[in-house]
Amino acid sequence: MAPASPAEATPADPLLGVTIPFKHKHLLGISQLNQYEILELLNRAEAMIPVSRQPRKSLPTLAGKTQINLFFEPSTRTQASFEIAGKRLGAQVMNMSVKTSSVTKGETLIDTAATLNAMRPDVIIVRHAASGAVELLSQKVTCSVVNAGDGTHEHPTQALLDALTIRQHKQRLAGLTVAICGDIANSRVARSNLLLLGAMQVRTRVIAPRTLLPVGIENLATEVFTDMREGLKDVDVVMMLRLQHERANGRLIPSVREFYRFYGLDAEKLALAKPDAIVMHPGPMNRGVEIDPAIADGARSVITDQVEMGVAVRMAVLDTLLEETSQVQS
């Protein structure tokens, strides 16, 4: 197990090198975690990074375990990441994609949960279009459940991989300033990141037009900017979000080109951030909509690092949840 990185744990820190017990059966959201548990997951994920970099990418701690990826919403990237994470740990992984159109017609989510549960998996990874759906499913099964994104609620492994990526580049989290830009209202990535970064003493800003800001966001511990230039001043990290094309139909924002002009990340706006600021994006990107292609593929982009950290984080999450001694709840 890797020790806590120096930035979080000063030499006097009694937590240095201590394994923090993880008492949760499921990973449903960042909101359920405290800062120590987040730190523990990040440390464990960091320790997983070398596994994927070695020629034989295997650490068979989950040999004999069954993992089901249950995706009610299509997501090639996240599903592949969870699949690779499980397989590198030696688990048997089954992918189940459920067509969104047939969901709730006939078989309910709870029926599906009961059916899968009877096959005795050890962990189910769930993505669903409805907020709270993963939590509902977790109440109906006896195995562990990992939220791979529920509606516009949470996407905890994305927030963990983002934090790990930041820590890898900045060697710390506490004291940094992170700006999250774009469609905040409809983003589970933004919600999980705000929760995680807030818990880790990171200063957060959200940057978006009023129509893409959730109600009451100003009451959360974050600064709100509607002017991207103002919001990017002196930040350490610029986190862009994907703009769903259907938002740019004249209802929430008038057009893609207007959005790009005011809220797209280009060189001119990025110049306002700190000189060593990094650029992140959860993918998949819309080049020319929320981000200039030259920046997306440029030197300050850490977007492919995020993908790599994603596998490490998911390995750590699976390993932690399925560790037999870690399960306190039944």
Binding site: T108, S131, G151, T152, H153, R188, P214, V215
Partner: protein, 434 residues
């Protein structure tokens, strides 16, 4: 329905229609109220049944302006019979049956069917409401005159809100022509969008889409304008925001033909009750902020809001045990409305007379029916209430066929001891002597 004369003695009689509040006796003859008097019973006829109601409140039976059943079409959710059992247990002796059935009640023959089924199977009075528009589609108005002749007492599109101002204007004018009340659920569907709960920080945190207050206040303001212009007897079926109370107060200063109701849910609960995506708290209108809930109480006290209803809406597990955004709206309420309302009496927020008026004489006046009163000659529909009786809500105790209560596990004080319709006892709590 007549039987022997009945005398209920030693009860605290509370009759909002007359303002009477004293310990006294009630005499029933021929299924109708013969007399109410303070003190000991006077002029008791030979062979009368005597009921000693010492320690109990005697009030008119409740009149509920918003009850959904599943008959016809969804009898597995609720029949008129099971709704009647639930109503009797909750002290409701008359309810306005919403037309949102399959088929919708938009034709005289269906009103007639409903009335006959109710007569044959339901132990309380069912007041048929007919649809304002054919098929509840919000497009073409129904045959108001023929529907009235068939027995409809009011027009409403139930949980549907008519979006076209032109259709509403026409419906209001035509209803005024027949002097019939129109009850309208106000909701701007475009503004409500895909919203599933109050539009607030709490919705943002849960990642649920919000329904802004303006989705209610804008159509309400329009309706109040149209009501003033047409002279219709207009009742805003249910309001939920503080701003709606202001709009109503303003409209009432100018005109006497408007009224409004509030669901017991919006009076007792707030958005925080949604908790971790609890779908039994998914309601329409949504549970609002605590400030809004306080405004509902204030509205009842000031008279801006007239009535309290149960919004009894039976839904089965198939549509409720779903992710919050995909579940159906609605909660049952017939059996908990009175006790939940009495919380406001016990807390000192609203006096008992005002509270009971909003569930008895006011709804009856709005419909223009002879109910919700203890005046001599009125049907002998009344209830005995044990004001302080402590109990805990258990879904397994319900008489309703559905279990989607927003009060599961709630500790309440006050319960119906007995319910009478036309002088006949149709419900008694276990342990209450006959």
């Amino acid at each position: 329905m007549s039987g022997r004369p009945l005398i209920v003695e030693n009860a605290r009689i509370v009759d909002p229609a007359s303002g009477f509040d004293a310990v006294g006796a009630l005499r029933v003859e021929g299924g109708r109220i013969a007399a109410v008097s303070a003190g000991a019973a006077q002029g008791a006829p030979e062979g009368a049944i005597r009921v000693d109601a010492k320690g109990l409140v005697l009030a008119p039976g409740l009149v509920d302006l918003r009850v959904f059943t599943g008959e016809p079409g969804r009898e597995y959710r609720e029949t008129l019979q099971s709704a009647g059992e639930a109503a009797a247990a909750g002290g409701v002796t008359s309810f306005l049956a919403m037309p949102d059935t399959q088929p919708a009640i938009d034709d005289g023959a269906l009103v007639d069917y409903l009335a006959r089924r109710a007569q044959a199977t339901c132990k309380v009075r069912v007041l048929p409401a007919a649809a304002i528009t054919k098929g509840l589609k919000g497009e073409e108005i129904t045959e108001f005159g023929l529907l009235r002749e068939a027995g409809a007492v009011a027009f409403t599109d139930g949980r549907h809100s008519i979006q076209s101002s032109a259709v509403l204007r026409s419906a209001f004018s035509y209803a005024a022509n027949f002097d019939m009340p129109v009850l309208h659920h106000v909701r701007d569907n475009a503004l409500a969008g895909e919203g599933v709960m109050n539009d607030s920080l709490f919705a943002s945190v849960l990642g649920l889409k919000g329904i802004p207050g303006v989705a209610e206040t804008i159509p309400l303001a329009r309706d109040l304008e149209l009501a003033a212009a047409t002279g219709v007897r207009y009742h805003a079926a249910q309001v939920s925001t503080a701003r709606s109370v202001e709009l109503l107060a303003d409209a009432k200063r100018r005109s006497g033909n408007v009224s409004a109701g509030v669901s017991i849910n919006n009076l007792s609960l707030n958005e925080n009750d949604v908790g971790a995506y609890r779908t039994f708290f998914r309601l329409n209108p949504p549970l609002r902020s605590e400030d809004d809930r306080r405004a509902m109480i204030e509205g009842l006290r000031s008279g801006a809001i007239d009535t309290i209803h149960s919004d009894h809406d039976p839904q089965d597990t198939e549509v409720k045990r779903q992710p919050f955004a995909e579940a159906s709206d609605g909660a049952i309420g017939l059996e908990t409305m009175l006790a939940a309302a009495l919380r406001l009496h016990h807390s000192g927020d609203i006096d008992l007379m005002t509270l009971l008026r909003a569930m008895t004489s006011r709804p009856a006046e709005i419909l223009g029916i002879d109910a919700g009163t203890l005046k001599a000659g009125a049907p002998a529909d009344f209830i005995l209430i044990d004001l302080d009786y402590p109990w805990q809500v258990k879904e397994s105790d319900f008489h309703s066929r559905s279990r989607n209560t927003a009060f599961e596990g709630a500790r309440l004080a006050g319960k119906v001891a007995a319910t009478y319709v036309a002088g006949q006892r149709v419900f008694e709590r276990e342990g209450v002597p006959a």
